[in-house]
């Protein structure tokens, strides 16, 4: 009877400790960046007009294990209030109800669910991310290419605290009609296709 108790206790301990052991090398990177280096560039090339803008209100976290990049998960959030174009009238139109409706939809979210076609060379990993992109309240499954660069111990050069950096670059295209952004309207001036360039770095202090 005592032996049975010992076995049960051993299993209970093993189950309790297992997740910690499995995730022992997973590093959680925080993408909040007060310096506003993290950014998303958006480009629209319509027959009558080209629009390019930026957004720097990036936050979110990514769990990354340098030894097992396939297990990468996380979420990158972009504050829509940070969307910017240099023309003030265009910016006013962009944030209003007809287009991005910033007051109702304050964030754009990209959830990393799975990494496929992972190739690692030195500190750089390329892969296809299978995830979910939510824009203007509409969530769609997406597969986007990504390049991750793991900079071990480099955080001290940037933030003066010891730690690691994870740089994430991704270029992909979406269609505004898929996300209900004034779908099918004014396509001669505002193209349906939006090219996105994600350039972000996350910090993991030790």
């Amino acid at each position: 009877m005592k032996r049975l108790h010992k076995i049960k206790l051993a299993w209970a301990l093993a189950l309790a400790v297992a997740p910690g052991v499995l995730n022992a090398d997973t590093i959680k990177f925080d993408f909040k960046d007060p310096k506003k280096v993290n950014n998303v560039v958006f480009l629209l090339d319509a027959p009558l007009e080209s629009i390019n803008g930026t957004a720097t209100g990036v936050s979110g976290t990514v769990a990354f294990d340098p030894a097992r990049p396939t297990a990468t998960t996380g979420k990158i959030v972009l504050a829509t209030s940070s969307l910017h174009v240099d023309n003030p009238v265009m910016k006013e139109h962009m944030i209003d109800e007809e287009w991005m409706h910033v007051s109702k939809f304050p964030t754009i979210e990209f959830v990393v669910e799975k990494m496929n076609k992972v190739k690692t060379s030195g500190t750089t990993t390329t892969a296809m991310i299978a995830g979910k992109l939510t824009v203007k309240g509409v969530t769609k499954k997406v597969n986007v290419p990504v390049r991750l660069t793991y900079l071990k111990g480099q955080l001290i050069k940037r933030n003066r605290v010891p730690g690691d950096l994870l740089v994430l670059r991704s270029d992909f295209k979406i269609k505004r009609s898929d996300y209900g952004i004034n779908a099918g309207k004014k396509e001669e001036k505002v193209s349906d296709e939006i090219e996105l360039k994600l350039r972000v770095a996350g910090a993991a202090p030790h």
Binding site: N39, N87, T149
Partner: protein, 87 residues
């Protein structure tokens, strides 16, 4: 005058071919991560639409001035006095 002012402002703004801008965004590179990031500063740059508007206004005013200019008076034309005395 209006057209020349528009032309000068457009030239000073660097012959910007797009719409007018109230900010200007340039790209810099973060030394540690190598990431390109935008830096936005407040700067007014005249666009082609306002440059075109200044040219249109100046052209319109020139047209109006030509259309409604005072007709030249006969008594101020050379030889007008002589011809009247002859009659």
């Amino acid at each position: 005058m209006i057209g020349c002012s528009g032309l000068i402002l457009w030239l000073v703004g660097g012959l910007h071919m797009g719409w007018s801008k109230s900010t200007e965004t340039r790209t810099e590179i973060d030394e540690v991560t190598g990431l390109e990031y935008p830096v936005t500063e407040n700067k007014y740059v005249l666009g082609v639409e306002l440059f075109g508007a200044t040219l249109a206004v100046s052209g319109g005013l020139l047209g109006l001035s030509l259309a409604f200019r005072n007709p030249a008076r006969l008594d101020k034309q050379p030889g007008a006095e002589t011809s009247s005395t002859q009659l």
